[in-house]
């Protein structure tokens, strides 16, 4: 009786699954026929004929759509990797402050984490872009000698300049993600038994040294998986770049869809781009995880 019911349930699930796929394929075919565009990727080699505000590699409107998409992908990679680094640094500091003995710091970081996590990322991005950067009047700027300057043109460092779009996105993504990373770090630290703190303290080992040699190595196995999922979220959240006008892979796809009507192809490209990005991130983290587990000679 039981197994026949199981088979029936599985049959129903399969039916639903295939019906949904069928409807989607049908819609696709109907749409393609209506627009008169065949499903192909030949258009990729045609000139894109739109300008980009920033490009890590040489780009001009006469370059192909494919090249424009690649530039967009690089722009995404650029903002994801830099936000990943900044948010990890910031999140670690705040996570430690949150668990530390200093009650003022702990209170401030708790407040930071709460406020950041309670407001939508889109709102925060808009805030940094429109209030933080564009809100600055033309004659307003914050600078430290010639080394560092913030104005409505973005962030200027002596060696390179970051546009205000990139800066706002970097700031918004980093701050947003850092609040989650801080919680991951805090959870990791709390997973180490109290006795470990008492043991190193009773030996006269300083808090700093104890944290580095005793607590962090034991907290890492609990931190890495949480960190990985925050990094994946960060990558996905980076598509909100379009809100501040940064030319990431999503924004460029959007432009191309408007120009060419190649929505299906573009979405496939977009999905593949993110698959590659996220596989890159999760595989790197898996490698780090392996290294940590292999370095651990105890159970």
């Amino acid at each position: 009786m039981k197994s026949s019911r199981k088979i029936f349930v599985q049959f129903v699930i399969c039916m639903i699954f295939f019906s949904v796929i069928g409807i989607l394929v049908n819609n696709l075919t109907v749409n393609l026929i209506r627009t008169g565009l065949g499903f192909n990727f030949n258009w990729l080699i045609k000139p894109a004929s739109f300008a980009l505000a920033e490009y890590p590699l040489p780009y001009s409107p006469s370059d192909s759509y494919a090249w424009a998409l690649f530039i967009g992908w690089l722009n995404s990679l650029k903002v994801i990797i830099s936000s990943l680094l900044v948010s990890t640094l910031l999140g670690t500091i705040i996570g430690f402050a949150r668990t530390g003995k200093n009650s003022l710091l702990s209170f401030l970081s708790a407040g930071y984490i709460t406020i950041i996590r309670q407001t939508p990322l889109l709102l925060q991005l808009m805030f940094w872009y429109f209030v933080g950067f564009l809100g600055l009047k033309d004659d307003m700027s914050i600078h430290i000698k010639d080394i560092f300057k913030i104005s409505n043109q973005g962030i200027e460092l002596s060696v390179f300049t970051l546009t205000s779009e990139f800066s706002a996105l970097l700031l918004g993504l980093s701050i947003f993600t850092s609040a989650y990373i801080a919680e991951v770090i805090r959870g990791g630290i709390l997973s180490v038994p109290r006795g470990q703190w008492e043991a190193f303290r009773s030996l006269g080992v300083s808090e700093r040294k104890g944290l580095i040699s005793i607590i962090i190595p034991q907290a890492l196995p609990a931190i890495i998986p949480g960190l990985t999922s925050q990094y994946l979220n960060l990558a996905k959240n980076s598509t909100l770049a379009i809100a501040v006008g940064y030319s990431d892979i999503y924004a460029i796809n959007d432009t191309i869809i408007n120009q060419t009507g190649r929505a299906i192809e573009c979405f496939m490209i977009l999905l593949t781009s993110f698959l590659v990005l996220n596989l890159l991130i999760s595989n790197s983290m898996e490698i780090i995880n392996r290294i940590i587990i292999n370095a651990r000679k105890y159970n």
């Binding site: 303290r201 030996l203 006269g204 000679k297």
Partner: protein, 248 residues
């Protein structure tokens, strides 16, 4: 007589109105062994943990190794004392990610700035004293409880402490493993180590201790020599406690 620990009227509450320590006074002289007994929650751990600053206290005076500890001490000052006071915990608290020898050399190398080779030589000497030098390269999880606790004692000895604190060192051990740890502690006492030991091992207390301190509800009920305490305890509360221990 050189006093190592002098406590006067130590008082501490974790929660308002509930005293974990209530006017505790005691003196431990150099080379002596003090055993602390008392029912669960009587404040034994809290008391010995104030001696190396793992706990603060609210009122009273405390002098350890000639250094005054303030009620709300700062971390820097207490580190100086911790370098001269060893502690052994009920749950061993070995560092699981470090080898046995690394557990022992961590503090000498980083706190006393000794060379790695010097610290390892002395660490091996301590391990052989504890009869576990063959395990030096292993990790804590590969050792039995009794062996782990002997490693913990070796680790506490690595800084050549002038005072050793033990908080129920055998309570987490299987009965057949208890003696190997108590024997190691006996040898330390014979070598003249000053020790304060929270334990309910009557045999150990009778043989090794110079004084027994009995606590209840944060108060010192009685301080006697072991001869008097175990045969002719002065207080009703102590006698009751000993009766219960006998029954177990």
């Amino acid at each position: 007589m050189n006093p190592i620990v002098i406590a006067k009227n130590l008082t501490k509450s974790y929660t308002k109105g509930l005293r974990a320590l209530d006017n505790v006074s005691l003196t431990v002289n150099q080379g002596k062994v003090l055993v602390v007994m008392g029912p669960s929650g009587s404040g034994k751990s809290t008391l010995i943990r104030t001696f190396n600053g793992l706990e603060t206290f609210d009122r009273g005076e405390l002098n350890v190794l000639g250094i005054n500890i303030e009620p709300n001490h700062d971390e820097r000052k207490i580190q100086k004392i911790r370098r001269r006071v060893g502690m052994v915990f009920q749950q061993f608290n070995l560092f699981p990610h470090l080898s046995i020898l690394e557990n022992i050399t961590l503090a000498p190398v980083h706190v006393q700035k000794r060379s790695q080779i010097e610290a390892e030589d002395y660490g091996m000497y301590l391990l052989s004293q504890m009869g576990i030098d063959s395990h030096a390269k292993k990790y804590p999880s590969q050792l039995s409880g009794g062996e782990q606790q002997r490693v913990a004692i070796a680790r506490a000895l690595a800084l050549k402490p002038e005072l050793l604190l033990f908080d129920e060192p055998t309570s987490a051990l299987d009965p057949e493993r208890i003696n190997e740890v108590l024997d190691a502690m006996r040898r330390l006492a014979e070598q003249g180590m000053t020790m304060i030991v929270v334990t309910h091992e009557i045999g150990f207390a009778k043989d090794v201790s110079d004084q027994v301190l009995f606590m209840d509800s944060g108060k010192v009920i009685e301080t006697s020599t072991p001869e008097i305490f175990f045969s002719n305890a002065q207080h009703e509360r102590s006698r009751k406690f000993l009766n219960q221990l006998d029954k177990q």
